[in-house]
Assembly symmetry: C2
């Protein structure tokens, strides 16, 4: 799920090799306008801002979120290294983006030829990134619409561990419990309780540092996440 476009038998919808235009460049080498470093908790852009650029995470973690008028927050995604965010169909950003940890970003200018033009590698990467974002969003709707707090935490921890490619060892959560809550459609307290319960049941272990988690029973977690 974390890998880019699958290449499993069927002709991919978005071909990775344009006939007569084979660029040997790895996708990640597509010309960034410049690189930017943002401090933890710093704003990257706000909803309503002119969407003249989009971003690719080099290191660190970024959150994109929206607010209801009374302040309720929904974090639609955490963006890890390699992820693209901030790409809009319209003229304005529809989200707010902030650094969760200190983060380095590639800033890309949004140009008419970004997809159709001469940079095939970036074009394909953008489309692949959109499809990945859509798949994650759809997966997340399942979580938000139909899963219990316990199941949400299990799903989240499993997915994050896969995306962070952390070996069997402890995984360091980049985000606070509050961030997790606003991503999972819960309150901080419910997140805390569900995490504690998973520990009591032996599915995870919680070292003294609350930002660390060890997945002790991946099978059982997967069963919870379905």
């Amino acid at each position: 799920m974390q890998t880019a476009l699958a290449t499993t038998g069927l002709p991919p919808v978005f071909s990775t090799s344009l006939p007569g235009r084979a660029l040997p460049l790895p996708a990640t080498e597509a010309r960034p306008v410049h690189r930017r470093t943002v401090a933890a908790e710093a704003e990257i852009f706000a909803g309503g801002d002119r969407a003249g650029t989009f971003y690719k995470v080099v290191s660190g973690v970024v959150r994109t979120y929206r607010l209801l008028s009374d302040g309720r927050r929904q974090i639609d995604a955490f963006h890890l290294p390699g992820d693209i965010f901030g790409l809009e169909a319209g003229a304005e950003h529809r989200f707010n983006a902030e650094a969760v940890t200190e983060a380095r970003l590639d800033v890309h200018r949004r140009e008419p030829r970004a997809l159709a033009g001469d940079d095939g590698a970036l074009a394909r990467e953008i489309v692949a990134s959109m499809m990945k974002a859509l798949e994650r969003a759809q997966e997340h709707m399942m979580l938000l619409g139909r899963k219990s707090a316990r199941e949400r935490i299990a799903t989240f921890l499993l997915t994050l561990s896969r995306r962070m490619a952390c070996d069997g060892a402890a995984m360091e959560l980049p985000m606070s419990r509050t961030d997790m809550a606003d991503h999972l459609g819960l309150t901080v307290e419910s997140v805390s309780r569900a995490v504690t319960q998973l520990e009591r049941d032996g599915l995870i272990a919680l070292p003294p540092n609350r930002r660390l988690v060890v997945l002790r029973d991946v099978e059982a977690l997967a069963r919870l996440a379905e």
Copy 2:
């Protein structure tokens, strides 16, 4: 939000006019493989099916959904005329698709050159459709993660009325309460109660036929939806 790619000032990421390859074809004329009519409640494809084709709704309404292993269902979207669905990055469909009402569909074969190749109109339509799907998914995460039952119904009715372009008159809901529930992350009973409550508060009217709704106070509904 329902319109295709916005063209508001900024250069669109995905240019609608490819330099040197201007196809005068309207997007909707892009070669369908064939047309198919499905009866109400009939299956169009199932999760795990080989994703060799994708679809565009000509008339009627389609739902795409996923199930948890114990049967809980999440309808990720209702597809109205003009919408594209069933397009996958991988080799298999990740969703089930069924007709909500009788529906006519354009069936498109998924080919390597679908985006990169010679049919620029279809390619751009596909990308636009993906962006639209992503925006709707993100909007829906806000609903599922942070809105009350009442707010979900208000949001749903407003959004649907805009997409169906129904004048101020009564809107005919194509789907059952159960479908609404599984889309909005609620139970049938909660949907029913919230709808009834909106009627008691005068925000909507419910003619005897329970598939009809009149939005009586769009302002108030919009305030609820935020």
